[in-house]
Subunit: 273 residues, 2 copies
């Protein structure tokens, strides 16, 4: 038997990465698929894996042989071993975690993961369906959607902008650095709509812009963190999202999920699905 033949997933992975540049196109395709979806390899059949990776079954066998295995079956067994062992190591990890054997950086990561998870749970539990429907209604009617947010909330609108573009929904991101925002907003009419996002301490610009647009008769959908938020006052529909925080930085996960929901739901609403 070939002594270089990898017996465990880690060394197999390294072997693949090492040979990466020397792989033919289709083999590289299945290699990437394998490392990205190891569970699929462990359980699937040659045919099913090949289909979902978009190659022929024979390519899978060639991939295995390329690495020195004598066929798909023996390659697959490495992926299966990995799952068996993971059961153990995962439990070990948890044990270690309880024992306090974790690094400081890991603790920070876990903190962010936990606050994000908590926020997501909260938004899913607390969000009112009727509110969501009304907001989508407003956005679906709009000719152009104006996106207003600063500072912490800005990443949300920038991802919304990306999504709206993909969904072919016309939008304007109010973010000009050159002080031209007032002009841009002056184009907005009651036939458009605004998504304004701001959390305490409220960026004054966002609040001002939302009020300005609202006074122009443009309907505002706001996402904020409290009923007392100044944003709530100028909004036609507003959502209260409570984000947990970690190390002084609030998670954006829940707001992000809500924002993306608004984008996708608006698109679906328009397409009449």
């Amino acid at each position: 038997m070939n002594p270089r033949l990898p017996q465990d997933y880690e060394s197999l992975r390294n072997l693949v990465l090492e040979k990466r540049s020397a792989l033919p196109k289709r083999i590289a395709q299945i290699a990437a698929y394998a490392l990205d979806n190891p569970d699929e390899i462990a359980f699937g059949t040659a045919a099913s894996i090949a289909a979902s990776a978009g190659v022929q079954p024979s390519t899978l066998i060639r991939f295995a042989q390329f690495l020195g295995f004598d066929g798909f079956t023996s390659l697959q067994s490495v992926f299966r071993e990995r799952l068996r062992e993971r059961t153990v190591s995962y439990e070990d990890r948890l044990k270690a975690l309880r024992g306090g054997g974790v690094t400081q950086n890991r603790t920070i990561l876990d903190g962010f993961v936990e606050s994000a998870t908590r926020s997501l749970e909260a938004v899913s539990r607390a969000l009112d369906d009727g509110l969501l429907d009304r907001a989508v209604e407003v956005l679906a009617r709009a000719e152009t959607i104006y996106l207003v947010a600063r500072r912490r909330s800005y990443p949300i609108t920038s991802y919304m902008a990306y999504a709206l573009g993909k969904l072919k929904i016309r939008y304007t991101l109010v973010e000009s650095a050159a002080g031209l925002d007032p002009e841009i907003m002056s184009f907005a009419t009651p036939k458009d709509a605004v998504v304004a996002i701001s959390f305490s301490p409220y960026a004054s610009q966002t609040v001002d812009y939302a009020r300005l647009l609202s006074d122009q008769g443009v309907p505002v959908v706001a996402i904020t963190d409290s009923a007392f938020s100044p944003l709530a006052q100028s909004a036609k529909v507003w959502f209260e999202v409570a984000e947990a925080d970690c190390a002084g930085f609030r998670s954006l996960s829940a707001t992000m999920a809500l924002a993306m929901t608004l984008a996708v739901a608006t698109a679906e609403r328009r397409n009449g699905t």
Copy 2:
């Protein structure tokens, strides 16, 4: 299909325990074996399992049919699912949340919440502590941190920029619309560091910039989604983050958590806490 047919390992286990006393001798034997060695059932073949449990293959089939499955194969798939889903908890949570009678928009929201939760769980499980430590080490040493990302990944760097500013860590967001990026990057030296983020399909600019900076000797910390990502090649340290997607839009939650961890951990590292 039989409605009592157990879909997951837990209910299958309960079903077996419940029927325990009514089982014929050989069936009982294989039942006990199955609950004691679930991994064997998941991976073995009917023949191999039968042999190590000391029964005939046909007994295995009878056991499966006794429980209402139509054959060994469908029984086995329950045992396989169990291994895939070390991430059971989030599904339970969501199942509990869905009380039925949900609107379409609510379904979209739940989809985003679910994919975000799944991504977070995956990153927490899969991320290697050593890798994290090394990345933080690199960033902590840097005089200026350059942030490079486009399109989908851009919101991540924009939140990182916000956080780094708050933490008083010097950074430069490479995002100039005026085509001045090359000049900005030419200021970077090996004493600085880069955080580059890109997911498939990789924005070519991000990849090019990362390579350019790496060639200048600036250490690159990359966040990407596959070992085959072109970003991985120019990176000194790189993270693989698998984000689940919903309606064609990938969650950013896991990447966001990791990015914030890098920011905060770097600050703590510098402050010597």
